[in-house]
Symmetry: C2
Subunit: 338 residues, 2 copies
DNA sequence: ATTAGCACTCGGACCCCACGAGTGCCAGAT
DNA sequence: ATCTGGCACTCGTGGGGTCCGAGTGCTAAT
């Protein structure tokens, strides 16, 4: 069946191009790979693949390179690759002596960028599903207070809130104790109900409402969904895959965060274990020449938070996917135990 | 006095090169600038400047470009430039509606990178000088606790600590209350003394010592001195000033943080209002082609924390210095009022 | 269905040369 | 003592032309 061989040719082209970053020609393929057919046959297959839009030639007298669709097909027909052993060991040794959640995230993102030699992104584990362990109200001025929410998974979220008017010390202390009682042990969803009740109690102080709001917001995961990066330098090293102002656009998009977060969320909704967006599939101009590989992680395997990598479309998909998958699994375990 | 004119020539060379990124020749200088002398005279001056090591030619038949020493001389002979008016307004409007310290820092770093079109760095205001407002001890497991320190300037620092052994609930609560009392209102310096006393009290629980340590560390500014970046893309856009793997090294150095922090601290010690390190003066290989401009900021003008920018040596020094100075002043004011 | 052979294409490397910006220096002017 | 005009020289850049070879598509033979 020649269909099979054509897939094999595509695979060989992708692998060759990824390895050398040069277009691969029919002769080179016939010599190097174990396809066992002549270059002429490969040329015919290539013609078909080009017809199907999976490969293209940069110019008439050059070899072929995969198109976005070609990478897509390659990725879809991929048997899950196991992570290399040394990498496996790296994950455990590197992450096992992390001391707190910050540290875990920090180490993870660095590790992931080193394993994949690409830009790595890790979103902080979301509080969404974890109960509130404690709420602290600390005054930082006559009419302002700091709300600190500590969650069961040892995260701390803070925000400041205006009380609207000067508030006496005893009153402040009393309400703070009260608030804590009304909040502890509840998930964000339950909080919403219980705190709006609390703020509406007869005799409740006027500034209870904004405070309650701030607590709920903080419990939901803070005002911002934080993400952390590492390995931006790998972009610059990607060499000929970008001209330098394209690197600039990508770095801008990374700093934006919001674009990337939206993308990651979309990808998480797709339900696979590891999601891949290739080139234009990112639906983002600045990322048109990059691919994003993402996976969710969270306690019990619920994909409540996200991590992933970003790099030029010409990347080692199997290896990167394996690394992302492995780090996501490991992080899930860690978050569970914390 | 020809010495004066020579300075003017150097200044014109620096300004011309910064503006065009091309070596400037004697004829262009004679035509464009208001020096009022012929190109031959300028050539003579150039010869002297080259002798002094302030300028160089990339190749025999090209104009001159400033050396690191040339930039240094230029900067040292600089009258302080006022910030452009639109920029001034940008600072106030952009920063005035920040809601909390995080937000202030976040906005500042972005603003600074936009004003200067370079990479901006802002170190989080250090707790060093501000008293502790509250210490919370929250258990997050049978034998682990989370230490949260809230400072008078509304910062929250956290770290986890191992208790060494399972601890009963009442005991835990009692010690937590105790700890809070022993800490509140003290500066980190005073804390060190008072908490080691506290931990050494007769009858004190065994796990008091590690907890006390964690509190002191957190009060000192957390386990890490955090810095935050913006504008990495500006590096990539700097065009011909870097080849792309040099960008990579710089990005690496930025992620390292520790290198940059050391450098900033050194610079802060120099006592000027705005400190400048040019090229090799950074004493850091990765930054050999970049300059760093830094200023301290803090309540009451005490330079307890740092901010600055980093960019190619070929940069607009007066403008960048003005922007750094202005943002540092503004931040000082904000921190003071918080 | 595969292969060998062949004519054809075309980008990249190489060479060569002319151009011109820029220099250093010297002799004369101020 | 300082500046200027002039001049010969350097050398990097850019344009134009040529050649080479990798790679292709097609066709005829297996």
């Amino acid at each position: 069946m020649s269909e099979d061989r054509r897939r094999a040719v595509l695979r060989a082209i992708v692998e060759g191009y990824v390895a050398t970053s040069e277009p691969v020609g029919s002769k080179a393929l016939a010599d190097a790979s174990a396809l066992g057919v002549s270059s002429a046959t490969i040329r015919n297959d290539m013609a078909v693949l080009e017809e199907e839009g999976l490969i293209a030639q940069p110019h008439t007298s050059a070899g072929r390179i995969p198109t976005d669709a070609g990478y897509r097909s390659f990725v879809d027909n991929l048997a899950a690759t196991a992570l290399q052993d040394p990498h496996k060991r790296a994950i455990t040794t590197f992450l096992s002596d992390a001391v707190d959640l910050n540290d875990v995230v920090e180490r993870s993102v660095r590790l992931l960028s080193q394993l994949t030699r690409q830009v790595a992104v890790v979103q902080y584990p979301s509080l969404r599903e974890s109960a509130v362990r404690r709420v602290e109200l600390v005054r930082i001025g006559a009419d302002r207070a700091l709300v600190v929410v500590v969650s069961a998974d040892a995260r701390v979220e803070q925000s400041t809130v205006a009380l609207g008017d000067a508030v006496g010390d005893e009153e402040f202390e009393r309400v703070a104790r009260d608030l804590n009682e009304a909040s502890v042990g509840r998930t964000p969803a339950a909080l919403l109900a219980s705190l709006s009740d609390w703020a509406a109690r007869p005799g409740q102080v006027a500034w209870a409402a904004p405070v309650a709001e701030a607590v709920v917001a903080a419990a939901r995961g803070g005002t911002v969904e934080r993400v952390v990066f590492a390995g931006a330098a790998n972009l610059a090293r990607a060499g000929a895959d970008f001209e330098s102002d394209a690197i600039g656009s990508v770095l801008d998009a990374l700093e934006e965060q919001v674009v990337l977060l939206r993308l990651l969320h979309e990808m998480a909704g797709e339900g696979q274990d590891v999601a891949v967006r290739i080139g234009a599939e990112t639906r983002t101009d600045a990322l048109a020449r990059t691919s994003v590989i993402a996976a969710g992680y969270g306690p019990g395997g619920d994909a409540v938070s996200l991590l992933g990598t970003l790099g030029p479309t010409r990347m080692d998909y199997p290896g990167t996917m394996a690394a992302v998958r492995a780090v996501a699994r490991y992080l899930s375990r860690v978050v569970e135990n914390e």
